[in-house]
């Protein structure tokens, strides 16, 4: 997925982005970080074509993305499930658009739930689940749509630290296992530890209007530990880019 010369402004005229360029490589976990209020979630919505850019374009396999598509699937910061549907029905929602036979829909939904570690919880309603389980349902729903790109907007922000850590450890394997058709994951976060733990490439968004001020590749071996001195070095690098003011280092 590529973003070319993207500009965007809100309805009230405020210019949020100017000249955003980035490229998310195949089989890589990409993160976008930036200070609070810089427009990280807005950028993710532009990548998913939920918002229209003022200028520039978003490309998938070289073709412009002009409207939302199941090929680019979004996992929200606020964990979104439908309270009137069971876990399985929530997941099946993304398969229904394919007009498959009922049995096939059930099979795909069950498999997606199994992938995120929720086998046996098919008939539970969201109210009967913890926050972590609900977020797994949301991830399963996205995966069941067979997306090429997964957009994740601070997916662990509303979970307690213990649950978030558990899900973080699972998520990379869930997303890039052999059965997953996923090509790329793009995650937005302000939690730098989480970003280093998961990402292969990090884009730093900063400035006003915001633009990409740096790209950092992380090639630490997995699983990654925050106690590793190399982890700290990457953390310092990211932190220094985030303290940039007006696009220049402070």
């Amino acid at each position: 997925m590529e973003v070319e010369d993207l500009d965007f402004r809100y309805e009230n005229g405020y210019k949020v982005f100017q000249n955003i360029n980035l490229r998310a490589e195949k089989s890589k976990f990409t993160a976008i970080v930036g200070p609070s209020g810089v427009g990280k979630s807005t950028l993710l919505r532009l990548l998913g074509a939920f918002l229209k850019p003022e200028k520039g374009r978003v490309l998938l396999h070289g073709k412009p993305v002009l409207r939302p598509t199941p090929l680019i699937s979004m996992v929200h910061q606020s964990i979104v499930t439908f309270p009137w549907m069971t876990a399985e029905e929530n997941v099946a929602l993304s398969v229904k658009t394919k007009n498959l036979p009922k049995d096939e829909v059930k099979r795909i939904s069950s498999k997606a739930l199994e992938m995120v570690g929720l086998q046996g919880f098919n008939d539970l309603y969201p109210k009967e689940m913890s926050g972590g389980m609900r977020q797994r349902v949301a991830v399963a729903r996205s995966l069941a749509a067979d997306p090429k790109i997964l957009l994740m907007d601070e997916p662990f922000a509303h979970l307690d630290e213990l649950t978030a850590e558990g899900l973080r450890q699972d998520i990379y394997n869930i997303l890039f296992n052999e059965e997953s058709p996923l090509e790329t994951v793009i995650m937005v976060s302000h939690n730098l530890t989480e970003v280093i733990e998961l990402s292969d490439t990090v884009f730093i968004l900063n400035g006003n209007p915001a633009t990409i001020v740096a790209k950092v590749d992380i090639d630490l071996p997995r699983p990654r530990s925050p106690r590793d001195p190399e982890f700290d070095r990457v953390l310092d690098t990211l932190y220094s880019y985030l303290t940039i003011k007006g696009g220049k280092k402070a």
Partner: protein
Amino acid sequence: MIAQNALSLGSINGIPFFTITLAVLATSFRVLALIFLSIISGWLLAYGAIKSKIFENVFISLIEIFESVPVITFFPVVLIIFVNRIGGELGVELAADFLVFTAVVWNIWMGEYQAFKTVPKEMVEVANNYNYGFLDTMSLVYVPFSIPRIAANLFPSVSDGFFYITVSEVFSVGFTTYATFGIGTEITSLLAESNYYGILATFIIMGIVIVTIVIALRIFSERAVARYTVDTDTPIMRRGKPRIRQTARFSAVTSLNTLGKLARYNRERRPAPDPEEIFSKKPKNSRWNIVAGMVALAILIYILYESALLVLSVSGSEWSYLFSKTPSLLYGLLLDYIRVITITLISLVLALTLGYYFAYRKRAEKIGIPVIQTLSAYPVPAYFPFVFLAIYPFVDSIFGSYTEEALVLFLGFLATFYYVFYGFWMGVKAMPSEYNEIMQNLDMGFFRKMRYVIIPSTFPYLIAGITSTVNSAWGGLEIGEYWPDIAGHKTLQVHQGLMKTIDVATSTGNIALAAWGSFLFAIIVAVYSILFTRKMMDLAKKKYVAEEGIYST
């Protein structure tokens, strides 16, 4: 004899502009004053309900039944008590007012009760912490918290109020027509004189007043949501462009937030309690409880006394007559239920499509919603005779011998469509934005969106809207099933229906039959309410709360 109070001042070319304006203002004043009275009384009753479990159970059960029972159920009671017992102009005025009061009050009372019940525990704790008395707790915590709910209920209440006031200002019992000054009476009088320019002027003046009221309500609603809703995303209006009817209250409302005012008010007013007081229990306000209990008991005894008198005043032969009429009344009710279901289904289908269209097209919504709000406040009984005249030949060419049936259904539709439409539109607007993104993301078509996401999300709103629609459909049938002299000497009437029987019985002075029909109607509608409406509302609250689908800490 018509008790005609209309003034004939300020006529230009035979059009009594001054009288018409006064009549429009009188009617509007009645509606707004009765809504105001509902709000004030609702605050007191809601406070009583949250303080006393027994009172709460009785109060809520009664509201839930009355909310689902159409206003015309009260008509015979109104006629008997106010016109026969009080009599004179005061009796007629009170009859009209009572009818409108019963049309607008239940929604508002229920909204206030729900708001009082859901005041965040922390706010109540703050009030308790600073030893607030009744007035302080009400004015600084409960009343501000209830404002958004009241604002949400104002549009349908104003529409309901105008709908019923125009018919309740003039009504006939036997050969006597009672009238009180207002636009309903004025239109009747202009129609009798065939003063069509006068009627046109009436609609224009009424349009101006209704648009003004709708604009004022919209401003109030926006402000109420921005100011009094907890954790709203709507920006709080501090300064801005001058708006219509900017009042001193604006600065009072926007100067400080509610909790800020609450805290400051408390600091300035209350000395710190003596240490000894902290360890003694707060004295209960038992004197007020006794007074309230005695008033409630007195009202109950009065109602029972009046009911007993009423039952005893009916002779044995009359009871036999009423029982013999019961099967045909019930058959009429069945036919009316079919009519109500037809009207509701048509309204629902149109509401779902039009509501969806407006909710997702900003430009259309900006124009369409205020237009529909204004049209809905225009009382259907005032303009329907002209619609009747205009479309009769066309409808006749399609429906033939069923023309009048179709026109009655159309009248019912005009009186009701707005409620389910507005309910659905509000539901779609209140849907979490994430749901919209997921629907876009999964590339869902219209029917799939509706089936899996939009209708379940808006289910509580739809049920509330359908309940109001059903109630208003009964009102529409009450007016339409038997409308003598709707245009010239033409009478609009259906072949058979309970509402027609009640109307005919009332206009021929057969109050016993009208009251018996209304009583049977009230019983069946109350049972329907308990078995269906309440169950659906419970289901909506239990399963279809879209907000619960968004999990965030």
